[in-house]
């Protein structure tokens, strides 16, 4: 048993205040251009507890933690943060870190080619006049590693240890900064079961030593295991806080809190007219793009019919985007095998131009990096994927190009002062419409939409749904990937559920509900 962490376990000075609150966030409201990410959120954490923060993607969990840690400085949000009995206004991350609030992000912030010791003390080096004291650094590192139960030499490079151990290094780093409130964002998302269990065990051990932690997770079974309290966020607001010691909280109970909202009027009505099978994907196996010996997609089979909107549900990392991109001209992955057919005939989709010729279009989830040339104008972005249609012998007919861009601008109601406005100056919803214009101009039969409404406001979402309906009515097949389950339920005729690189369920509209999707994911997760 390693020596206990150097935690200051404060006695409850106010005996009448049995709660002993370490953190209270009051009426936090945070707005981004066009989107209200947090709306009057209240969040209270007692000293020495493990407090779980749950909610769907986009519910506002990460935003709330960024407000807390000073990533969004005081003044850019409304509301108050009480920490350790005082109102705090953090303007940088180091302000909150000085008070012992340490956040460990989902994407670990370690430098791969530096050693464990160098990473732990990065920016906080044990040094005199700029000269690092390596002996002290290494011995302190050894103490910290012992505390988190990691048996590695301090000189080991980060790149040489697995993700599970990297997570422990992050926690050791937090301890080097005298952590009092540890925030873990999806700490087990990329860990296998053994590593996850070990990490949760460690958290409970720290709790017994008095450390307070906030854990953000999608894995409800894990939350049930460790959490003292659970706060549920939905659409940027607090739904409720459940006390795990007062009542027995079931996973269904948590799911209900996460998803319970009305769906009427948020999705335009549609009369599906479903025809023959357009796209059929069989036995699709793909290996990971970087970790080349790791199989990422396993025997994925699905189809899309004409006039049908088919959804793919799943958590982050389930392999949905990878499925779409690997089909679209092998733009993701490695060692790809399987068969893609259109109208029952096998087609060659081995390069992006061939995939486009076969009638596919892929509207990316990352429109800024993968969808648009931001410094180019609307017209140039619209014509990019099908430039030859407005050119003859390699010479662009600018008048025809302007005509096309103008048509799509009015058809999709892109709000801009002209087609010559640069994409970078458009709002998220209008940028998305420009990406859609680009792909509609290639006249695809199958349109793959990856998170088509991410980061855009409610009004624009409705417009995007209307466009989807209209395209389906024209007989196109739509494959829609979304992390927002209500959106899938509101627009799709059929939903595939993916988890860990496999299709784990196919739900017709009648059987699909948020509960049934979640259950399919959870069940498959337990099986593997």
């Amino acid at each position: 048993m390693p020596a206990g962490p150097a935690l200051t376990l404060r006695p409850p000075w106010n005996v009448t205040d049995m709660e002993n609150i370490i953190l209270e966030m009051r009426n936090i409201t945070k707005t981004f251009p066009g989107v209200k990410a947090l709306d009057n959120v209240n969040f209270k954490v007692r000293e020495g507890e493990i407090h779980a923060l749950v909610g769907e993607n986009g519910a506002g969990k990460s935003t709330l933690m960024k407000v807390l840690s000073g990533v969004y400085p005081a003044g850019t949000y409304d509301g108050e943060i009480h920490y350790d009995g005082e109102v705090r206004a953090f303007s940088t991350i180091s302000d909150s870190e000085d008070l012992g609030i340490i956040i460990i992000h989902q994407e670990l912030a370690l430098v791969p080619l530096l050693s464990i010791a160098e990473n732990i003390f990065l920016g906080n080096e044990i040094a005199a006049k700029g000269v690092i004291d390596w002996r002290e650094t290494f011995s302190r590192t050894r103490e910290l590693l012992a505390k988190v139960g990691l048996k590695e030499a301090p000189s080991t490079l980060i790149t040489d240890i697995g993700v599970g151990k990297q997570q422990l290094v992050e926690i050791a780093k937090a301890f080097s900064k005298k952590v009092r409130l540890l925030i873990l964002d999806e700490p087990t998302a990329s860990l296998n079961e053994t590593d996850s269990d070990a990490l949760l065990q460690l958290l409970m051990e720290f709790r017994s030593q008095g450390l307070t932690s906030i854990i953000i997770s999608h894995k409800l079974n894990e939350i049930k295991k460790v959490a003292d309290k659970i706060t549920i966020l939905r659409d940027g607001g607090t739904v409720e806080t459940l006390d795990c010691h007062k009542e027995d909280i079931s996973e269904d109970r948590i799911i209900k809190g996460m998803v319970g909202r009305d769906m009427e009027d948020r999705y335009p009505p549609r009369e599906p007219k479903i025809g023959e099978v357009l796209l059929e994907v069989k036995n699709w196996n793909v290996f990971h793009q970087q970790h080349r010996d790791r199989q990422f997609l396993h025997d994925v089979n699905f189809n899309v019919r004409a006039g049908e909107v088919v959804g793919i549900a799943g958590l982050m990392g389930a392999g949905r985007t990878e499925t779409a991109m690997s089909i679209f001209g092998r733009s993701w992955g490695h060692k790809i095998t399987g068969e893609v057919s259109m109208h029952g005939k096998p087609v060659d989709v081995s390069t992006i131009p061939k995939a486009i010729d076969a009638g596919l279009a892929y509207v990316t989830e990352d429109r800024k990096h993968l969808g648009l040339v931001l410094i180019n104008n609307i017209m140039h972005n619209t014509s990019l994927a099908n430039l030859s249609a407005v050119a003859s012998n390699g010479v662009i007919d600018t008048r025809r190009e302007a005509q096309v861009a103008t048509d799509y601008r009015s058809r999709l109601r892109i709000r801009s002062h002209s087609i010559y406005q640069e994409a970078v100056n458009l709002s998220g919803g209008n940028q998305q419409k420009v990406v859609l214009s680009k792909w509609l101009f290639t006249n695809p039969e199958i349109l793959i939409l990856d998170e088509p409404t991410r980061g855009i406001d409610v009004g624009a979402k409705f417009e995007i749904y209307s466009i989807i309906n209209q395209l389906a009515a024209e007989g196109k097949g739509i494959l829609m990937i979304s992390s927002e389950m209500p959106e899938l339920l509101g627009t799709c005729d059929r939903i595939y559920v993916m988890n860990e690189g496999r299709i784990v369920a196919e739900l017709p509209k009648e059987e699909a509900s948020q509960e049934s999707i979640m259950r399919a994911i959870m069940r498959s997760g337990e099986k593997n």
Binding site: L387, G394, V395
Partner: protein, 401 residues
């Protein structure tokens, strides 16, 4: 009422100026620099003989800047052009002088060899994803080494007369019979061509404004159009007149003008040009739009190689000798011309006209300072500061806007 209208007009002109300050600023800078050196050299700068020299000295920088602009817009850089200039110059000398081949065979062969040199580098950049800085740094050393090798450390020359004319020849006075004042104007053709070109530019400029208006596209305010045309027209006619009092158009000026026109067209109107801008603006999005970004990058380097080969032959012909040290440092002048001309080091932004004006700014400064008798030390220093100032001006405008 009238006050209101004029107020709204000025704000719109003001905002237009702010949005396009880079382009006008460049033109103004060139004119200011020309006038400055004209005054300080007491009129030597614009003497017909000096203008001719200016063209001959800078044509190859301008020609290479056309290719370099495409490379920079695509998000790359090419450091090897100076060495390719020397290498191809050397090869042309061997073929012309030692083997006695006719220039009509040698010129195309050299252009192809330049393309091959570019392709060899383009392959590593485009398909093996090695940073262009490293590949072309290697190319710079390799081609310089090859130049020493093929020339065996000795200059080769002189060239046959017909090949020299490529660089030092002039377009004959095709309109000599119509010359009204043979005592002043020695090449009437040059003057007529310049005047015709200026008239054509004004005519097509006005025509384009009209079609833009019809289609609701943006037009620059009339004041700017008129002012710009007046300045460019005046400078062009003045230079044309000066040239016509000497020996007329140098051949390289014609080659250069045609190439500028061609590359302006490619960047503005061709699908290849458009795709290169998209590639430089966002390579991943361009690739996901079904565009073969590797092949585009490859072609950009091939093109650069061909233009460097052309420049190499022009320089060799002008010096009448191929030397192993030819073209040392040219890559930096060419790259500087592009950046002064407003190209962005991160790709996706840049104009042919900008690069050409940038090259002229550098050329006029070189020439002007030489006339003043400033040594190479001050010349380098001033050029460096001008480059920094031009790019700072860009960054400052971007941050402000």
């Amino acid at each position: 009422m009238a006050g209101e209208t004029s107020a709204s007009n000025t704000t719109s002109i003001g905002s237009y100026l702010r949005n396009n300050i880079r382009e006008y600023g460049l033109l103004v800078a060139l004119v200011v620099i020309m006038v400055f050196f004209q005054v300080i050299t007491q009129g030597v700068l614009f003497r017909p003989v000096n203008i001719t020299n200016l063209v001959l000295q800078n044509s190859f920088i301008v020609i290479m800047a056309l290719g370099m602009l495409l490379i920079i817009v695509a998000g790359h850089i090419d450091l090897s052009v100076g060495s390719i200039v020397a290498f191809i110059g050397g090869l042309s000398a061997i073929m012309l002088v030692k083997w006695g081949l006719h220039f009509s065979i040698v010129v195309p062969i050299c252009l192809i060899l330049g393309g091959v040199a570019g392709a060899m580098q383009g392959y590593w950049v485009a398909y093996q994803k090695i940073p262009s800085f490293i590949v072309t740094l290697a190319g710079m050393l390799v081609f310089r080494g090859l130049t020493y090798l093929v020339l065996q450390n000795r200059p080769i020359g002189p060239f046959p007369k017909d090949f020299q004319l490529l660089s030092t020849g002039f377009v004959p006075d095709l309109l000599a019979f119509a010359n009204p004042a043979p005592t002043v104007v020695t090449n009437f053709f040059a003057l007529v061509v310049v005047v015709v070109l200026v008239i054509a530019a004004v005519y097509f400029g006005l025509k384009k404004r009209r079609t833009n208006e019809l289609h609701g596209s943006e037009n620059e305010p009339m004041v700017f159009f008129a002012l710009q045309m007046a300045i460019i027209g005046a400078v062009a006619i003045f230079i044309g007149f000066q040239l016509s009092t000497y020996r007329g158009f140098p051949n390289v000026l014609v080659v250069m003008a045609l190439l500028i026109a061609l590359y302006t067209f490619i960047t503005n109107r061709s699908t290849i040009g458009r795709r290169i801008y998209a590639l430089g603006g966002n390579e991943k999005a361009t690739k996901l739009s079904g565009i073969n970004t590797e092949r585009l990058t490859f072609y950009a380097f091939v093109n650069m190689g061909v233009l460097a080969a052309l420049a190499g032959m022009i320089i060799a012909a002008r010096l009448n000798s191929a030397t192993p040290k030819a073209g040392v440092g040219f890559e930096l002048d060419v790259i500087a011309a592009c950046f002064i001309g407003g190209a962005s080091a991160s790709g996706g932004v840049g104009k042919i006209t900008g690069a050409v004006i940038g090259a002229f700014i550098m050329g006029v400064m070189n020439n002007g300072m030489s006339i003043m008798g400033l040594g190479i030390d001050y010349q380098q220093l001033v050029k460096g500061l001008v480059l920094l100032a031009a790019v700072f001006f860009d960054v400052y405008n971007k941050n402000k806007g």
